[in-house]
Each structure stands twice: as C-alpha cells, then as structure tokens.
C-alpha cells in the first residue's frame, strides 16, 4: 500500500518523534509513505475568510500532487489534517472557490477535491485494520493504562472531518487496545486543551490542561497519548497541578511493533 504523505513543518522540527515512529511503524505494517516532494506549510490554522484564497493554496497544491500520483494523501499532524481536509471539502463543495483557485493555479486539469485525505489513525483503522496491528504486535503494552486525548482538530466540524463521533469518539481507544494496553476513557478527551490561547490567556490554558490531566489521573491513567503537536506542547508546558507523561501515539505503536 503506497500513500502520498504530507508531514508538515512541526514534524520536521518540534515533533520529530511523531514523524519518525510513524514511518518506522508503517514499514512494519506494509505501508509505504511517499513524502510529497515539494510541500509547503499548510497554514496551520484553517482560514475562515471566505473571500480570499491565498491562504488555502498550499493545501490545494499538496492535494493536487497526490492526485497526480493517483494516491490518497496521508496526514499525521492534527492541525495539518484539519486544514487540508477542510480545504479539500471547500474544493468539493464551494464552486466560487473552485473557480478562483483553478484560475490561479492554471493546472492541466482543474482540481475539484478528488484526493482522499486520510489521517494516520484512519489509515490504521480503515486501511490496515486494528486486528492486523494486533497480529503484528511483538511487544504488547500489557497492563499499561493509557488515556487518549483527541483534542478538537481531529473531531470537528464533524460533518467535514468525518473522523469519529465528536462527542463519544473511540478510534484512539481501539488503537490502545490493539497494541495490548488498556484504554482509560476521560470525559474531557474531546475538549479543547486551550493551546490556542496559551500566549494570550495562560491562566485559562492552565485551567483546561489541569482539568484534562487530573481527570485522566482520577481514572487511573499512567500516560496520555495524542496526535497533535500543539496539544503535546500545551499539556506538558501548562500543567500546574500534576504531571503525566504525554506521548505521541506513534511512539507507542513503534514500541509495540518492536521498532522503537
């Protein structure tokens, strides 16, 4: 199975672990991640302005590159996934934007949202299958109690992202089970971590983080996994009461598959 891969800036700097272990694990699972040759920053935040297209062009370029190769586009960073998936949805449904973008890009054939955007977790669930992962696990993380933290970017807006039930998601819990560990469900796993306001209102970010971490601890979690570099930073930097190890889900996957 070969997929085009869009890593994004953060995975080349702060979040190198997320990327490294994803690649190693994919190899074991028989998935080839072909990094796009010339990708640009996705923009990091989905631009809400409806009357300009410049901020959405880089996402369309990545989508178009995957289309040319006839491959699905694999993403890993929550923010990149969020932006690229939403821009793709715009290209499928917003005729005005379709026209403007294609007029600007002057592609051989207009891009109208043909590429399928797949997050690494979706790839594990839908293309590989959690049962298959179970078979490949050589080092099951038996007895480890792990809380999944989804954050907001993967789940919402749910009609566009179509990732999981936004109020009661289960994909990361299923993932935890597949590597032999025990999922701990916390009620705040789908709440915003406050990462976006941590510069502006540090107190609020700290309050959100403490709530998430203390609730995970009360339920007996030993660590928290995430797919989002911003959540990772925020959960670690802004916790004031308790500390729990925060790790990327790919790191645990690599550990279970014996390639860490």
């Amino acid at each position: 199975m070969i997929l085009s891969y869009y890593p994004g800036c953060t995975l080349k700097t702060k979040a190198q672990d997320l990327d490294l272990y994803a690649r190693k694990s994919a190899e074991v699972l028989g998935v080839t991640m072909e990094e796009l040759e010339e990708w640009q920053c996705c923009g990091a935040v989905y631009p809400m302005a409806s009357d300009e297209i410049a901020t959405k062009l880089s996402a369309v370029r990545a989508l178009e590159n995957a289309k040319e190769k006839g491959q699905d586009l694999l993403t890993l960073c929550s923010a990149c996934h969020h932006v690229i998936k939403r821009v793709n949805h715009d290209m499928q449904t917003n005729a005005d934007m379709q026209m403007k973008v294609n007029n600007y890009l002057q592609l051989d054939e207009p891009y109208t949202g043909e590429t399928k955007v797949v997050h690494y977790l979706e790839m594990l669930r839908d293309l590989v299958g959690f049962d298959k992962i179970k078979e490949k696990v050589v080092n099951p993380l038996k007895g480890k109690k792990i809380a999944a933290y989804y954050g907001c970017l993967l789940l919402r807006p749910s009609d566009v992202l179509q990732f999981d039930n936004p109020e009661n998601p289960s994909i990361m819990e299923d993932f935890i089970r597949s590597i032999g560990a025990t999922p701990v469900e916390t009620p705040y796993r789908n709440e915003c971590c406050g990462g976006y306001v941590s510069m502006e209102n540090k107190k609020l970010a700290q309050k959100k983080v403490d709530l998430i971490i203390s609730s995970a601890m009360e339920k007996g979690a030993e660590m928290i996994i995430t797919a989002c570099p911003l959540c990772m930073y925020n959960l670690d930097a802004n916790s004031t009461e308790h500390k729990l190890p925060i790790v990327y889900f790919t790191e645990l996957l690599a550990e279970a598959l014996g390639v860490k």
Binding site: N168, P187, E191, S215
Partner: protein, 661 residues
C-alpha cells in the same frame, strides 16, 4: 365558439401587490372567445361569486376562467357558484396566479406578464372543455383507526358514539399508547392511568368497536368510501379467547432477559408477558425472540401452569380482510434516539435518563413503585438537573428543527412533583425558552418556580461527566453570563418527539403525504387540519404534529366529526374527470391495466367497427366508479387510446400552445 368570462382576483394584496390586475384584465379582454373580463378584490367572497353568477346569466357564458389562488383552495367554491348559475361546474377553469405567480415573484412587470400567460392557457383549455356529469359510489359505513393511543381511542369512541362500526389496529399487545406510561398529567396533575384506563375499558366494551391489538396494517387498496384493508394479526402464541389474564404464566416464565417496553427498559419482563396490569386486552403474549421453548424446544412452563390451556405454540399470524369508508392515522410518536447527543452521557451513565423513563421512575406502577431512586445505586437523589430542548429546535442536523411543544410543561411538572414529594432535593432546569401557552399552563410553570423553588436557568448544558459517583453537569447561565458546574445525582433529558417510525410506511400505503419530518400533511394547514389531502384519510394526534393530551383529545374528536360526516353519507359524488379508452385506438397491450393503482381497468373482447371493418378486439375498459383520475394510464398507453376527461391530451396541448404563443 365558447363564450368565456374571465374573473381576476386581487386576493387583497396577495395577488394585486405583485400582479397588475388591471393590465391582466385589459390584456385578456380581446382573447378569442372572451366576452367578459373583470377583476375584484376577493373573488371567493359572496360579492365575488355574485359577480360570476350575474355574468353567466347576463352574457350567456359557456365557460369561466378564474384567475386566483391554487385550485386546491377554491376550485370547488367557483364550480359551485357556476353550477348555481346553471353552468356545468366542469366548464370552470382556474389560472393559479397566486401560488404559481404573485407569491413567488417580486418583479411586478414580469409577474403580470406571467399572470397573463397563465390566464391565456386556462382560456385555451376552457375552449375544449365539455360538460361532465359526476357518478356516484357507495360508502362503506365502517372506519379504521390506525393506532390505539389516546388519539386513536378518542376518535374511535366518538365515531362509535355516532353509531358507526370502527376498528382500531394497534401494533403493540395493548391499547393505551404513551399516555398509559405517564405518571401525572399537566396542568391539573390528575393521574394518567385514572383518566385513561376507563377510556380503554370503554373502547373494549363498546360493541361498535373492534380491537385488533398486536396487529399491523398490511396493505390498503381502494379509495374514499371504499377502502379494502388487510390487517395482520401477529401470533401471540396465546389463545386470547381462553386466556383470563391471571398472569400466572408471566410470573413463572424463567426467561428474564427481555426489556419491558412499558417500563422503558428500566426493568425486564418475561418472554410471556402482559405489558401492564390494566392492559386492554388483558391477555398474555409470548415474545418468540426470548421464549426458551420456541428457541430450544425445552421449558414450556407457561403451558404447564396455564389452567385455561390458552398457550398455543403453533399459533400462526392471521390475515383479516375488511372494508372501510374512512381511515384515521393515529400512529403517535416516539422520543428521538439520543445517539447523536453523547455530550449528555445518556449511553454511558445510568443516572442520565429521558423524560419518559423519568415518568416510569415516578410512577407507582413503575420499576421502583413510585419511589424516585437513582438507577445506578438505588439511592435517593438529592440534586436533579433537567435539560430541555434535547434535540428540539436544533438546526445542527443532529436533532429536529421543530419545537416538541410538550417538554416545557412536562419538565415543569416533573420538577414540581420532585420538589413536592422530596423537599430535601435541589432541582435545576436548563431551558432555551420556556414556552407555556395554553389554558392554565403559564400559571402552572410559575408555581414550579415561585411555590416549589425550582431553579430555572436560561442556557444549555454542554457536557455531562462523572466524578466520584456524581454527575458533573457543565452548562452556561446566559442571564448571569457565567459557566456553571452542578454536581447532580440524576440528569433528565427532555428528548425531542418524532413521529412513530411506522408512520412513513403506513402513509405510503395510504398514499397520504408526509412532511420533511415525517409528520402527516394536512389538506389545509388552517382550514382542514384533520384531513389528509388524500380523500378519506383523516389525522388524529401526534401523527400530524407535536401536541399535548388536551390538544390531542380535541383533535381526535374533530377528526371523528369529519369521519362521521363522511360515513353519514349514503353515496359519494365521484370525480367525473376519469380515464376513458378510445376503442378504435386501443391495441390491447395491457400496459394501462398494469400501472393502474386502483384496479379500475379491465379488458373485454368486443366487436368494433373500424372504418367499416367489423372485428372482435381485446380492448381496455375503465370502471368509472373506481378510477380516481390519476392519469397514469394516459401516459403509459403507447397508442394514445387512453385519455382523461377534463384533462385530455388535447386540452393540455392547447394550454402549452397558449403558453408558448
């Protein structure tokens, strides 16, 4: 050449504000055949009708065109007026310049042009109209009521009271519906069972009423006055003639896995069960999905303990065929599924319940015998949070766009009853708006707030979580502009109502229309609210839209009045706009017979004279009493032999020509 009068209605400003009615009058004055044209403010009023009648007499009109609202609104009015003036009513045509023109256009010049074109089309059609004479059909003096809740019961009782036979078909083993599950009823707080169960008994003992419980409508054929219905009586595996309802079998049944429907799954029932003590009919039913004997051949305990020898494991479904003059849709409602509302934790926390479950938890005949206990640990709750509008007035797509209408009142009732019975409790109600229009309704709500000290909070709950065995309710108080966190023992969700899932399939069997929310559509939202646009189909209760018990009962009686009006007639005047077959063109292919939804077409061998050649041919024949004039045959006929009186191909082509002129 016809002598045609054209009458243009202003409909107040409905038409006149967008269509220049004077210009239309001027423009069609000189159309061929038009000998009189006039406009008037309200053509449907007495004066307007007089205008038409006088013109018919004065100018000897042979055809009339009224440019007004939809023919569904006033075609009958104008036909009647013409008839009174001595004209055949089918010489009247309506040009719909309101719904099809003024209401949907803004530009007066364009709308006026369109109105003129529509008028010309109608004039062109009238030129080819011929007088039609209506036939008659008989009326079967028996009504069918689908649904045995309070709506169906009331409608049936009222119809029976007038002396007509009426059958109730109810899909569950007992009549009574949702009302039977309620504890007390607002705004008087009388116990639901005390006012409902006598009515259930009345329905059973009335010799004009036949109950088909645990039964479903299988198919419907025919038309107003002459419906042919098959009813499937599902096998109960209990002989209802022998069963005495003693309940011995239900207590002895060792299978205890089935959830009690009556108690909203809050307790289990046996595989053989009587839904509740006051069930009508008071007989047992075996649920084959859970019956050990029916699954494995073992057990059979019920058979052994039944002294009446009523158990019959070999019983089969039974089909009953019956004829009816009228059919009432009283299929009722359900609460929506809360899968889309996981933020409230309904699927996760047993102490988060729906309002209907809460009714059972407060009810003396419920799983806790009327003592309010937390489902999780059977302890007394101290703090309760009620959340209104769960899925109602929801435009996100997860819920329903409409207001469920009953939740504000029953939540006030719940809150008041809890505070009354357990003064040590704190009760909070989250609301978007409190809507309490109705006799003594707002007074009732105020009592909850002022007398019983219920904390009403304007705002919505965002999340329900758990901590140390308590529910943490996170919500916003919009008036104080702050976020709240309430530690609660129970959360009660006022889930939106929706039509019963059976409504859709039953409606399609009846060819009765439903709206985007699956509620039945009325023939007219204001003026014919208890009739379906399909003749002979009537609407009762929640099937038509959200309503409380007083309103349901009023509507059920209104519905009965309409049914009685129909059944009181010995004959119905048929629509003369029926299909007819041209014997010489018919090639006997049978296509029309196959598409006719009413079975009105048959084939006969007949000698015809085709331009001097006499031969016996197989030709189509239309039974005019059965044909409903739908026109399916006319478009199916490959040789153009089928035509519809009043809507002939020639007439329609003339209209098209006039529009394209």
């Amino acid at each position: 050449m016809q002598k045609i009068g054209v009458f243009i209605c202003h409909c107040g400003t409905n038409i006149a504000a967008t269509v220049d009615v004077e210009a239309v009058t001027e423009a069609i004055k000189n159309e061929p055949g038009v000998v009189y044209a006039a406009n008037y403010q309200y053509m449907c009023s007495e004066n307007g009708q007089a205008l038409i009648k006088n013109a018919i007499a004065e100018y000897g009109l042979t055809g009339v065109v009224v440019c007004s609202c939809s023919p569904r609104m006033h075609e009958a009015t104008f036909r009647k007026a013409a008839q009174e003036a001595g004209l055949n009513p089918y010489m009247v045509e309506i040009a719909n310049i309101r719904e099809h023109c003024s209401w949907i256009h803004k530009d007066k010049v364009e709308a006026t042009e369109k109105a003129i074109i529509l008028a010309r089309a109608a004039i062109a059609k009238v030129h080819l109209n011929a007088p039609l004479i209506s036939g008659q059909s008989d009326v079967t003096k028996r009504a069918l009521v689908i649904g045995g809740g309070i709506a169906g019961i009331q409608t049936a009782l009222d119809i029976a009271e007038a002396g007509f036979e009426v059958d109730i078909v109810e899909k569950s083993p007992t009549i009574g519906g949702k009302m039977a599950q309620l504890d007390k009823t607002f705004p008087t707080l009388d116990c639901a069972a005390c006012i409902l169960t006598p009515k259930m008994v009345d329905a059973k003992s009335n010799d004009k009423i036949t109950l088909y419980t645990y039964s479903e409508v299988e198919s419907v054929k025919g038309f107003v006055g002459n419906f042919e219905v098959s009813i499937r009586k599902k096998a109960r595996y209990v002989n209802t003639d022998l069963c005495t309802g003693c309940g011995e079998c239900t207590t002895k049944c060792p299978s205890r896995k089935a959830k009690s429907e009556f108690n909203m799954g809050l307790m289990n029932r046996g595989a053989i069960y009587i839904p509740f003590a006051q069930a009508i009919p008071n007989v047992a039913t075996i649920d084959p999905q859970y019956c050990i004997h029916m699954k494995t051949g073992k057990c059979g305990l019920c058979e052994k303990v039944c002294s009446a020898h009523a158990i019959d494991f070999k019983q089969q479904d039974e089909i009953v065929e019956q004829k009816y003059g009228a059919i009432v849709m009283a299929t009722g409602f359900n609460l929506i599924n809360l899968d889309q509302f996981d933020e409230f934790g309904y699927s996760k926390y047993p102490d988060v319940v729906t309002s209907l479950e809460f009714e059972r938890l407060m009810n003396a005949a419920g799983p806790t015998e009327g003592t309010l206990l937390r489902p999780s640990n059977h302890e007394h709750p101290h703090t309760l949070v009620f959340v209104q509008c769960v899925g109602s007035r929801d435009t996100s797509g997860c819920g329903k766009p409409y207001c469920s209408k009953i939740c504000c009142m029953y939540t006030a009732k719940h809150a008041m009853l809890v505070r009354d019975k357990y003064p040590d409790t704190e009760v909070y109600v989250f609301y978007i708006d409190v809507r309490t229009p109705g006799k003594n309704f707002d007074e009732f709500y105020r009592r909850a707030v002022e007398q019983y000290g219920v904390h009403y909070i304007k705002g919505m709950v965002g999340k329900v979580t758990d901590k140390d065995g308590k529910l943490i309710v996170q919500g916003s108080d919009l008036l104080e502009n702050k976020q709240l966190k309430i530690e609660a023992d129970m959360v009660v969700l006022a889930a939106a109502v929706e039509p019963d899932p059976s409504a859709r399939s039953v409606a399609s069997m009846l060819t009765a229309s439903i709206d985007t929310n699956d509620f039945m559509t009325e023939a007219h939202a204001k003026l014919r609210p208890v009739e379906s646009p399909t003749a002979g189909i009537f609407l009762s209760g929640m099937a038509q839209g959200p309503k409380d018990i007083p309103e349901t009962v009023s509507q059920a009686s209104a519905c009965a009045a309409k049914v009685i009006g129909l059944l009181a007639k010995d004959h119905l005047v048929n629509n003369p706009c029926v299909a007819q077959s041209n014997e010489l063109r018919c090639n006997g292919c049978s296509n029309c017979e196959k598409v006719c939804p009413y079975g009105a077409i048959s084939y006969i061998e007949k000698e015809v004279n085709d331009h001097g050649v006499r031969e016996v041919r197989r030709i189509a024949q239309v039974n005019e009493a059965v044909c409903q004039g739908c026109g399916a045959c006319t478009v199916t006929c490959p040789s153009g032999a089928m035509d519809l009186k009043g809507f002939s191909t020639n007439q329609i082509m003339a209209e098209v020509d006039a529009i394209c002129r």
